[in-house]
């Protein structure tokens, strides 16, 4: 039986890395956006508005790049 263990491992590692990275980046972006919120019920110290916007922009861009890189691998290569 020819089991492609290498490919299966690649699926696991790529999926784990991509999913965790995207979710963490989006969550970080939302944390950054939270700096604009009026209510202060957050569990951690809040960022300044400017810093929050910067964190959100960088995180969302990075998440988008991860997704676009995935599509590039699937479609182009």
């Amino acid at each position: 039986m020819a089991v492609h263990w290498g490919s299966l491992l690649a699926v696991f590692l790529v999926s784990l890395g991509a999913a965790v990275a995207v979710v963490a980046l989006v969550a970080t972006a939302l944390w950054g956006i939270s700096a604009r919120a009026v209510t202060a019920d957050a569990a951690a110290p809040r960022l300044s508005r400017r810093m929050g916007a910067a964190v959100a922009a960088v995180s969302l861009t990075a998440a988008a790049l991860v997704v676009l890189f995935g599509f590039w691998v699937i479609i182009v290569r």
């Binding site: 020819a2 999926s15 965790v20 979710v23 989006v26 969550a27 939302l30 944390w31 957050a42 699937i74």
Partner: protein
């Protein structure tokens, strides 16, 4: 092209359609459950993205058309029998609202039909085990682990932010992640039908061995699965979105992202995964990843039992259908007639209870109707609003509490109980 080949191609497209509405839940159940998307919008969006996804890759189609069974030893009648087994199993599991694997049904039907017609030697056991069975068995576990990790880290970060902002943000992000799944579903599942049609064309010499699917096959398969998806399989959407666990938007986003990553990376490497099992595994993983999130293991256990049954059940029906249809034209017509009659009967059973907001609100929903005829767009939408309204992050809620769960506990733990109340609140 002979009449039989045309009949097989049409039957394959019918299977593709059932695959679409059976698996709409894969892409959209969690988004609908968390209120990220309205039910109708969700299924139409999923349908469109299914069509786009069908054009992304043909690796899985090549796996199916060029290695699963010995194409030189089977006929279109055998493939027809396999498709009949798969369609019937899909319809039965849709009727009872269980997210079984359309892929398992298809492979089971084909394997059973080939076995009875040409013997076990015509089945490429190595390819079946290495590229189909093993990934099918491992994929829910992998998706579960990935979703658990993503959910855990997502909550760890999200609890540092403003609750309302993060909940809304994850709901919006879910529109993207659900779209990714719909795209992945189109890529992975439409290719299975492409593979079967290509296999049929190879068996009658219309295509050389190991051919990639022609463009018209890709287009037809994409359109069929998109149409089925846009129809919406509300029963299974309800099971996956509401009955395994009460999904919150961070969980839904994590589960969908994990599922899309697993399905797309597997499809790229030619593994014919079950999107149903991947998404179910991810939903379970995301439920376990939220410490306060209850997992209804009884429902999960029923799903697992159906997963185990799917391949052998479809194989038996496929074998029987292939044996009859291989007798000649009369046999094929008989099998086709039985398929139509049984399908009509299943559809008639599903229509016994009218599906409307008024009916759902008035109906007694309990254990007897679990997964049966009371689940429709209205139910899903109503449950959605209830979930979205009370959606909270774990830091702000007491452990074990979940929307709709108290009422369910009062009625013997069945999660469907209490949803009319949610519908009333939503109204």
């Amino acid at each position: 092209m002979s009449t039989l080949v045309i009949a097989v191609v049409l039957t394959a497209l019918v299977f593709d359609f059932t695959n679409g509405f059976h698996d709409t839940a894969n892409a959209m159940a969690t988004s609908i459950a968390t209120g990220a998307l309205r039910p109708r919008v969700a299924v139409v969006l999923a349908g469109v993205l299914n069509l786009v996804g069908a054009f992304l890759s043909v690796e899985v189609a090549l796996t199916i058309s060029g290695g699963l069974v010995d194409e030189a030893r089977i006929t279109p009648a055998v493939i027809f029998g396999g498709l009949v087994g798969a369609i019937l199993w899909n319809l039965v599991t849709w009727l009872v609202g269980l997210p079984s694997s359309s892929s398992h049904a298809l492979f089971g039907g084909l394997i059973g039909a080939t076995w009875v017609f040409a013997g076990s030697g015509a089945i490429n056991v190595s390819t079946v085990a290495g590229k189909v069975l093993l990934p099918l068995a491992l994929s829910p576990v992998v998706a579960g682990v990935v979703a658990l990790s993503a959910t855990w880290i997502g909550y760890r970060i999200a609890t540092r932010g403003d609750r309302r902002t993060t909940t809304r943000g994850f709901q919006r992000a879910q529109i993207v992640s659900a779209s990714m799944i719909a795209l992945a579903h189109g890529t992975n599942d439409a290719q299975k039908t492409m593979g079967v049609i290509t296999l049929t064309l190879i068996t009658v010499g219309l295509l050389p061995a190991h051919s990639a699917p022609p463009l018209w096959v890709v287009l037809a398969a994409g359109l069929a699965i998109a149409a089925g998806t846009a129809t919406g399989g509300w029963r299974i959407i309800h099971t996956l979105g509401r009955r395994i666990s009460d999904i919150e938007s961070p969980q839904g986003f994590a589960a969908e992202t994990a599922s899309a990553a697993v399905i797309l990376s597997s499809a790229h490497l030619g593994f014919a995964l079950s999107t149903t099992q991947v998404v179910s595994g991810a939903v379970l993983g995301s439920a376990a990843g939220r410490r306060a999130g209850p997992v209804r293991w009884r429902v999960a256990g029923r799903m697992a039992a159906v997963w185990l049954l799917t391949l052998p059940a479809a194989a038996v029906v496929g074998a029987l259908a292939a044996w009859v249809s291989a007798r000649g034209t009369g046999g094929t017509v008989l099998v086709g007639a039985v398929l139509v009659v049984v399908s009509a009967g299943i559809y008639g059973l599903s229509r016994r209870t009218p599906v409307s907001a008024a009916t759902v609100g008035a109906a007694t929903v309990g254990a007897a109707t679990v997964g049966a005829a009371t689940v429709g767009a209205a139910t899903v939408g109503a449950a959605t609003v209830g979930a979205a309204t009370v959606s909270e992050l774990p830091a702000q809620r007491s452990p074990g509490h979940a929307p709709g769960n108290s009422a369910a506990a009062e009625h013997g733990g069945d999660p469907q109980v209490g949803q009319p109340a949610a519908a009333a609140r939503a109204a």
